[in-house]
């Protein structure tokens, strides 16, 4: 079992897993061919768990994320979120999505971008601005709240996208290679920020990445996927203590985990 150290309090009674996938398969049909993107995936993700989906490009990990979040309907199998179907969870606004590109609205300032979901999910209007500013402060962007996306750096934009996905308090954070377009220094800073946010906001996080070190550093468990069709090749618990600090990357234990994940990827 993965260590659940330093998770803090998990909100609500832990009644079974947060997300349960049963024999999920996705086949994309085009007029000329059908492509099996995901096959036979069964997986349980616990409440408050930080789970990484690791695999090479085209292994179906992003498709799997979209299936959990009800953006893509699976061809086979069942997805259960908190005991109900995924679309019900989406309708309850339980998912906060972050994509590889920040995908901010260029005509809205940082604070207005964070406010967008609050306008959609019926968040009390009088508390919207305060909530946005509180979140921007958490990621050190309060001074840039009136800046427009083209005035912000790539790392700043992705921070805005992350707090936008947290704004209304969804319980599950869905991250699709959120740091892969950033340079290494910025990526490491954002990983720290994310762990900091996770310590404050207690979410279940599903984190898609093709970066082995990133998966090991962040996650409680790393699900390694193999391509064509996307299947689970291995599930590796990460037995590293929390809170995790950058120095951890230089330890033998960390490198052993990285090695194990690389082995699983190669098999």
């Amino acid at each position: 079992m993965p260590q659940q150290l330093a998770l803090g309090l998990i909100p609500g009674p832990p009644t079974g897993p947060c997300i349960r996938l049963q024999d999920v398969g996705v086949t994309f049909r085009t007029p000329r061919a059908s492509v099996e993107a995901v096959a036979d995936v069964s997986l349980e993700i616990g409440e408050g768990e930080f789970l990484a989906l690791l695999g090479p490009t085209g292994c179906g990990k992003s498709t799997l994320l979209r299936v959990i979040g009800d953006l893509t309907v699976p061809t086979r199998g069942a997805v259960e979120v908190r005991g109900g179907p995924a679309h019900a969870a989406r309708q309850r606004n339980e998912f906060g999505f972050v994509f590889q590109e920040p995908a901010l609205l260029p005509w809205r300032s940082a604070v207005e971008n964070v406010r967008l979901p609050l306008e959609v999910v019926n968040y009390p209007p009088e508390r919207r601005t305060a909530r946005c500013e509180e979140l921007l402060k958490l990621v050190g962007l309060l001074g840039f709240k009136d800046g427009y996306p083209h005035e912000l750096s790539g790392g700043m934009k992705q921070r805005v996208a992350i707090v936008r996905a947290l704004a209304w308090g969804p319980s599950i954070l869905m991250m699709d290679e959120p740091f892969s377009a950033l340079d290494e220094l910025t990526r490491n800073r954002l990983q720290e920020d994310l762990l900091g946010l996770w310590a404050v906001e207690h979410k279940t996080i599903v984190f898609v990445t093709h970066n082995i070190g990133e998966a090991v550093y962040l996650a409680d468990r790393v699900v390694v996927m193999s391509p064509r069709p996307g299947r689970i090749a291995a599930v590796l618990p990460v037995a590293l203590p929390r809170p995790r600090q950058p120095e951890l990357r230089d330890t033998i234990e960390f490198l052993e985990h990285v090695h194990a994940a690389r082995e699983a990827l190669g098999s």
């Binding site: 009800d70 309708q91 906060g96 590109e101 995908a103 260029p106 959609v120 996306p149 083209h150």
Partner: protein, 264 residues
């Protein structure tokens, strides 16, 4: 090796931008005036600029004609903008509507507009109505095509995000798709507004007793070439005004797109 950091494009001042065309205009007018006087070109063939200016100031009802044509063009343009944006929104949301209607939008653009004028005159007479309709029809195509493209230009990740928070179609439209389309809509307005002017003038060629188009046709048939030049000059000013006006609105709105290599 090191070079000073100089911005690649330096914004020219109004003076720097306006001076060269003014110089060319003055030289051309001067040569024109001189040629007409020295070669004694008859007035009906090519009036001197001074004669055209003189005629301009003597004209009593020029503003009446101009006002009427502008009214027809503006009405047609407005009609076209409202219907065009509504249709584009429909096309962007419904594959059925796109497949069913878009071919006819293309066909409407392929028919020479002049061929429709007599038909509309049979149906609606010699009043303003057919002129407004021609102005609307001619500006319809660029508005529909550009706006449709604009609605479809919305970032697919952004649409995914809106879907993930269970946004309604209306919320997606007002918060993401419509603002995304605005730069395209303004670009369409820039083209369509000048086209609607062309439409109104051409429609006035056929069966009318006022308007700039009427002025062009009658001055030509009566060989009042100076009046013809006055009409053409007024039309040129109107056309350029439309273009500049919407060009400015467009640039002001899409300032944020500078980053994305959006060039004008």
């Amino acid at each position: 090796m090191s070079e000073p950091d100089v911005p690649a494009v330096q914004e020219a001042s109004l003076w720097e931008r306006a001076l060269p065309p003014v110089i060319f205009l003055v030289v051309a007018l001067f040569l024109w005036e001189g040629a007409v006087r020295w070669l004694a070109i008859p007035k009906w063939l090519l009036p001197a600029p001074s004669a055209i200016v003189e005629r301009f100031f003597k004209l009593r009802n020029l503003w009446l004609h101009t006002g009427l044509t502008v009214m027809e063009a503006a009405s047609g343009f407005t009609l076209s903008a409202v219907l065009g944006i509504a249709l584009a929104a429909g096309i962007a949301h419904s594959r059925f509507l796109e497949r069913g209607v878009f071919p006819y939008v293309v066909v409407s653009n392929a028919i020479p507009i002049i061929a429709i004028i007599p038909l509309l005159t049979i149906w609606f007479g010699f009043g303003y109505a057919p002129k407004i309709m021609i102005a609307a029809i001619i500006s319809f195509f660029p508005i529909v095509t550009n706006t449709t493209r604009g609605f479809k230009s919305a970032d697919p990740r952004m649409l995914d995000f809106m879907r993930s928070i269970n946004a309604t179609r209306w919320q997606v439209f007002t918060k993401v798709q419509f603002p995304s389309a605005l730069p395209f809509i303004f670009a369409a307005f820039r083209i369509a507004s000048s086209l609607s002017l062309v439409g109104a003038v051409v429609a006035e060629f056929y069966g009318s007793d006022r308007g700039l188009g009427y002025l062009v046709i009658t001055s030509a048939t009566q060989l009042q070439t100076d009046l013809l030049f006055v009409s053409i000059a007024v039309l040129a000013v109107l056309g350029v005004s439309c273009f500049t006006l919407f060009g400015r609105v467009e640039r002001a709105y899409s300032a944020w797109q500078a980053e994305q290599g959006y060039q004008r």
